[in-house]
Symmetry: C2
Subunit: 300 residues, 2 copies
């Protein structure tokens, strides 16, 4: 690892790789029906940190794996993430008109097209994952394992299950185990799946697998705790709202349950679990290590 | 094939096999989140002709393939079909309160849960298809081919694409090519994929593959033409509506474009194409042959 290595450059390079691969893999905006493919592309290319693809690539690279071999799965997980955002934003769900400052999918394309664009993106992920010609270097058994892993993480006992419990909990007082259930499922499952997919494609041995799983679990939860903290900090500085207004809105968060300082302690603990897990990789895990810092330290 | 062979018994047996396999493969209604799994099961077990699983099993059996080996894919295609019905019925789409005489998913579980139950069923299909332990006899390469086929048929250039064009066409005058686009995509793609999956799992050679594809294309379209005719015939006898009322409602149908008699001629032509394609299989194709009759002749 060169001494002039910089996280920002590392992230930019991987985001760039992911986005140009997404552009190649997704049907063109002129593919029939054009409106549908336009709607799919609208949300996939609406920005975002691409944290799942980046984590998958970084996990694979930590093991000395080939970046090109992991790109189809990295793009598939981003398609799954994009579909989940489109559906979460729908009037029947969170009813959000804006995401990252832009109108949400259903505001631009209508509710029916947004539902279908989400459905199509989820399906497209599996078209890509099962398309042997885009990753001939990865054998069928391994492709199957990655398909299984991503499907389980995205399904009723993973991400979708987390979203259901999140909605059920709205406006109710919930305890810490329920909050952790929501987050380990709604966001944690897919982040862990990103790391695990990178590990599978990078041919992790048993010790490496265990270490990366520990990293992925801790980093996934830390990501959510930090997001909860950031929401409040941003609220306070930008909107002048008090800490705890999220709780009044009926939304359970870590700061609401643990207090702002308690949530920061939890985020730091999780970050340190993630960092310790990387010890066996030495300097090769520098990207994953810096990403753990990047995820958590922005909330200090 | 025994002389006392009866289509009704054949269908009942395969439907029974499919439904008990679906019950085994789907997470139990007490799996957390219970509401979600209850919603998924509600629609999967709401009846239906199970035409896609039956066609897949029949195609595999025509080739002498093992019925047990095809069950996971047969259940997966039914999960995909169920998800598509849940989403089609949503207020933002067809806004249907009843399906097969029972309240639709969103009427029972609410709109958000219905969207998520659909999402979860689509995902569950890929969990099942990539689950090596449920069909160890089918190798990873073949499982992958079936995953690819079903995903493509269900995605933006298949079923979802057909639904988008169907919605875009509502209330507009459309021509026969557009109507055929809608149906070959919205229903035909998944029916053809059922036949093709059976052919792959049953180890079709090139001639058998071509014959089954021809059968699947014709039968898939015939199914829709017959459905359109039945809608009108049922309307006339049960509701006293005139032929053409579908057209007034802004829904394009074969009888609306070809006239009732013209649609019947088209259904018969398609049935005969399907039957001729089966010639190379001799008596082994009796189930597929009788199913083609069953699909079309009910509309006479």
């Amino acid at each position: 690892m060169k001494t002039d290595w910089q996280l920002e450059t590392y992230l930019q390079d991987r985001i760039q790789l992911t986005e140009s691969a997404l552009d190649r893999y997704l049907p063109g905006a002129d593919t029939l029906p054009a409106k549908l493919h336009e709607a799919m592309r609208y949300s996939v290319f609406a920005g975002g940190k691409r944290i799942r693809p980046v984590l998958m690539i970084a996990a694979c690279e930590t093991l000395g794996g080939n970046t090109q071999h992991v790109l189809p799965a990295a793009c598939a997980i981003e398609m799954i993430h994009s579909y989940s955002l489109i559906h979460d934003d729908l009037p029947a769900m969170d009813d959000d008109d804006y995401r990252r400052g832009e109108p949400t999918n259903h505001k631009v394309f209508g509710e029916a097209n947004a539902i279908l664009a989400g459905d199509a993106l989820l399906t497209e992920a599996f078209i890509l994952l099962s398309n042997k010609s885009v990753w001939p270097e990865v054998d069928a058994e391994k492709r199957n394992t990655v398909i299984s892993l991503l499907a389980r993480s995205a399904g009723s006992r993973g991400m979708v299950g987390g979203q259901v419990v999140d909605m059920e909990s709205e406006g109710k007082e919930i305890d810490l185990p329920t909050l952790e259930y929501i987050h380990t499922h709604k966001t944690g499952a897919l982040i862990l799946a990103a790391i695990k997919s990178g590990a599978i494609i990078g041919d992790a041995d048993e010790d490496q697998w265990r270490a990366l799983c520990r990293y992925g679990e801790a980093a996934g939860l830390a990501f959510q705790v930090a997001d909860d903290i950031l929401d409040i900090v941003a609220d306070q500085s930008e909107l002048g709202k008090d800490v705890g207004s999220d709780q009044e809105r009926g939304k359970a968060t870590y700061p609401a349950l643990l207090g702002l300082e308690g949530a920061r302690v939890r985020a730091r603990e999780l970050r340190d679990v993630a960092l310790t897990a990387l010890d066996i990789f030495g300097d090769k895990a520098r990207p994953l290590r810096e990403i753990a810092h990047y995820i958590v330290d922005r909330s200090f």
